[in-house]
C-alpha cells in the first residue's frame, strides 16, 4: 500500500510544478501590470514600487527567486494591499472558505447519498422519480442561478433568512452552503443511484438473500460498499468544483473568503496574489484528488492486497 501511495505522490509533484510554472508565466505574460489602474503615479514612484516587488529583474530571475521563496513557504507581498503579504491574506480568507466548503460538502454528500440510495431501492417508482427529478433540477441550476433565486425567495420575498455575510447574523450560513452544495448533491445522488443499481443486480446479493438476511442488512452490509465506490472517486473532482464554485457564491453572498479575494486579485492584476492563491488552491486540489484516490483504492480489497503484497 505504501508503494502505491509513494508512487502516486511522486507523480503529483511534477503536476504541482507545472501548475506553478504555467501560472507564473501566464500572469507575467498578461498585458497590463498591477499598477496600471492606479491613479497616475510618477515614473520614479513606479520604479521604486517595481523594485520593491522585484518587477525590474529579468524574467527568469524573478521565476527562480519566486520558487525559492515558495519552498520556504513565502508567497510574497500583495501588490494591491500594501504592507500585507499573500500568506496573510490567504490565511485570513481560508478558514471562511473552508467552513463554507465543509458545510457544502456535508449538504452534497449527506443529501446526495441519501437521495440516491433511496431512489435505487425502488427503481421506476415514485420513490425513484421524485429524488431524481429534484437532482436534475440541481444539475440544471448552477450556483449563480440558484443562489440569487434562493436569495430572492427566502431572503427578500419571505424574509426568512439573511442574504449576505458569514457569521454575522443568525442563519446566514444556510443559503450559501445550500447554494454551493446543491449541484454536487445532485451529481452524487445520480452517481450513488447508478452505483447502487449496478450492485443490486450482482450475484453476491442473491447469495446474501439466500442466507436469509433481511433486505436492510443486504443493502447496508453488502451493497453499499460497492455501490458508493463511484461516489468516493468523485470526491476529488467535487472538491475542485466546490472550490471554484466558492468564487461565485462568495461574490453573491458577500462572504469575505478566499474565493472572493481570488476574483478581485484576478481583476486587479495583483500578481503575487493571483500566483499565490492559484498555487495554493491548485496544490490543495491535487492533494485532495490524491487522497480521494487513496481512499478509493483502499476500499477495494483487491488493490489493497496487491499493493501490500508486491515483492
Amino acid at each position: 500500500m505504501w508503494r502505491f501511495i509513494g508512487l502516486r505522490t511522486l507523480q503529483a509533484i511534477p503536476v504541482i510544478f507545472i501548475v506553478i510554472s504555467v501560472t507564473f508565466f501566464l500572469v507575467r505574460a498578461a498585458p497590463g501590470g498591477p499598477f496600471d489602474d492606479e491613479k497616475a503615479v510618477s515614473p520614479q514612484v513606479r520604479a521604486a514600487l517595481e523594485a520593491q516587488y522585484r518587477l525590474d529583474l529579468p524574467m527568469h530571475e524573478q521565476y527562480l527567486t519566486y520558487l525559492s521563496d515558495l519552498l520556504q513557504g513565502d508567497l510574497g507581498p500583495s501588490f494591491n494591499y500594501p504592507g500585507r503579504s499573500v500568506n496573510e491574506l490567504i490565511f485570513q480568507g481560508l478558514p471562511i472558505t473552508a467552513e463554507l466548503g465543509f458545510y457544502a460538502l456535508l449538504v452534497a454528500v449527506g443529501i446526495g447519498v441519501l437521495a440516491g440510495v433511496i431512489a435505487s431501492l425502488r427503481p421506476n417508482t415514485a420513490q425513484d422519480y421524485v429524488p431524481m427529478s429534484l437532482a436534475m433540477v440541481g444539475i440544471c441550476m448552477p450556483s449563480f442561478l440558484l443562489g440569487p433565486m434562493l436569495v430572492l425567495i427566502f431572503g427578500i420575498w419571505l424574509d426568512w433568512l439573511p442574504v449576505s455575510g458569514w457569521g454575522n447574523s443568525q442563519g446566514d450560513k444556510i443559503l450559501p452552503s445550500i447554494t454551493l452544495g446543491a449541484m454536487y448533491a445532485a451529481y452524487i445522488a445520480r452517481l450513488s443511484r447508478s452505483g447502487m443499481l449496478e450492485v443490486m443486480s450482482q450475484d453476491y446479493l442473491r447469495t446474501a438473500r439466500a442466507k436469509g438476511l433481511p433486505e436492510r442488512v443486504v443493502v447496508v452490509k453488502h451493497a453499499l460498499r460497492a455501490g458508493l465506490l463511484p461516489v468516493v472517486s468523485y470526491l476529488g473532482p467535487a472538491f475542485a468544483g466546490l472550490l471554484s464554485g466558492s468564487f461565485v457564491v462568495e461574490t453573491i453572498f458577500q462572504i469575505p473568503g478566499l474565493g472572493r479575494f481570488y476574483v478581485q486579485a484576478a481583476f486587479n492584476r495583483d500578481y503575487t496574489m493571483i500566483l499565490g492563491t492559484t498555487t495554493f488552491l491548485a496544490t490543495l486540489i491535487v492533494v485532495f484528488n490524491l487522497l480521494s484516490d487513496f481512499v478509493a483504492a483502499w476500499l477495494n480489497p483487491r488493490l489493497r492486497y496487491q499493493f501490500s503484497n508486491k515483492q
Partner: protein, 298 residues
C-alpha cells in the same frame, strides 16, 4: 474497399427485413416520454434562436431610455431591462450565443477527444500507455482555475473561450472513447475480421466505429449542457462573453445586480438556461437508456 451495404439485390428483395439495433433504440427512445419532451423543447429553442433575426419584434440593441425597466406586459412579453430593451429579444439572442458556444465547443472537444481516444484504444500497448498517462497528468490539473486565469489574462476573445472550454472537455471524451474502442477491439467479431484479412482501415470504419458510435453520441449530447454551464459561469464572473454580445450567463449576472427591484431580469434568462439544460439532460439520458439496454433500469 468493397461496399457491401449497396442497394438490396433482386433475390433478397422479397425477404423480410430485420430490425437493426439503431431502429430498436429509436423505438425505445420514442417510448420515453421525458426524453421526447426534452427533444421537443430543444427543437423549439433551436428554431427560435435560428429564426430570431426575422421573427423578433424588437431589435436586439433597441433602447428606449424613457421606458426604463418594466415588468412583462402585452407589448413586451418578458418585460424590459434598465435601458428599455425588450427582454424577450435579449433572451433569445442570448440563447443564440449560449447554444452556439455549447455546440461548437463540444464539437471541438469531440474532434480532439475522439481522435485521441480512438488511436490510443486501437493501437494499444506502449502508445496507449503513454497517451493515457498524458491524459492523467492533464486531468490532475485544476482546469477551472487555469481557465479563469487565461480569461483574465488574455480575456475578451471568443476563440480563446472556445479553445479553453474545449481543452477541459476533450479529456473525458478521450477517456470514454478509448475505453469503448478497447472493449470493442477485444470482441471476437473484430478478431474474425482480422482473420478474414480485412485491412485495419476497413476494420476501424466498418466494425469498430459503428459499435462505438452510440456511447459517443450520448456523451456528446450530455457534454453540451456541461459546456453551456461553464460558459455561463465564466460570463457571470465577467470573464466569458463580452458586451455587446450577450449570453444567458451574462444576462443572469445583470439580473442579479438588480434582482430586488426588477426580478424578471433574473428570472427569465435563468429559466431559459435551466429549461434548455433540462431538455438536453433528459434527452441525453433517454438516448443513453435507449442505446444501451443493459444500462436501463429494468
Amino acid at each position: 474497399m468493397t461496399e457491401v451495404n449497396a442497394p438490396v439485390p433482386r433475390l433478397t428483395e422479397a425477404m423480410p427485413k430485420g430490425v437493426s439495433l439503431w431502429q430498436d433504440a429509436w423505438v425505445r427512445l420514442r417510448k420515453n416520454k421525458l426524453a421526447m419532451a426534452g427533444l421537443g423543447i430543444l427543437l423549439l429553442v433551436i428554431v427560435l434562436c435560428i429564426l430570431a433575426p426575422w421573427i423578433m419584434p424588437y431589435g436586439y440593441e433597441e433602447q428606449d431610455l424613457a421606458l426604463g425597466a418594466t415588468p412583462p406586459s402585452s407589448a413586451h412579453w418578458l418585460g424590459t431591462d434598465t435601458f428599455g430593451r425588450d427582454m424577450l429579444t435579449r433572451v433569445v439572442y442570448g440563447g443564440r450565443v449560449s447554444l452556439a458556444v455549447g455546440i461548437i465547443a463540444t464539437a471541438v472537444a469531440l474532434l480532439v477527444g475522439v481522435t485521441y481516444g480512438a488511436c490510443a484504444g486501437y493501437l494499444g500497448g506502449r502508445v496507449d500507455a503513454v497517451m493515457m498517462r498524458l491524459v492523467d497528468i492533464f486531468y490532475a490539473l485544476p482546469f477551472m482555475i487555469f481557465i479563469i486565469l487565461l480569461m483574465v489574462v488574455f480575456g475578451r476573445n471568443l476563440l480563446l473561450l472556445f479553445l479553453a472550454i474545449g481543452a477541459v472537455e476533450w479529456l473525458t471524451m478521450a477517456r470514454i472513447v478509448r475505453g469503448q474502442v478497447q472493449s470493442v477491439r477485444q470482441q471476437e467479431y473484430v478478431e474474425a475480421a482480422i482473420s478474414l484479412g480485412l485491412s485495419p482501415a476497413t476494420i476501424i470504419f466498418k466494425h469498430v466505429i459503428p459499435n462505438v458510435l452510440g456511447p459517443i453520441i450520448v456523451y456528446a449530447t450530455l457534454t453540451i449542457p456541461q459546456v453551456m454551464l461553464l460558459e455561463a459561469f465564466l460570463s457571470f464572473l465577467g470573464l466569458g462573453i463580452q458586451p455587446p454580445m450577450s449570453s444567458w450567463g451574462l444576462l443572469i449576472s445583470y439580473g442579479v445586480e438588480t434582482m430586488e427591484e426588477y426580478p424578471w431580469l433574473l428570472i427569465y434568462p435563468g429559466l431559459a438556461l435551466a429549461l434548455t439544460l433540462f431538455a438536453l439532460n433528459f434527452f441525453g439520458d433517454g438516448l443513453r437508456d435507449a442505446l444501451d439496454p443493459k444500462a436501463s433500469k429494468d
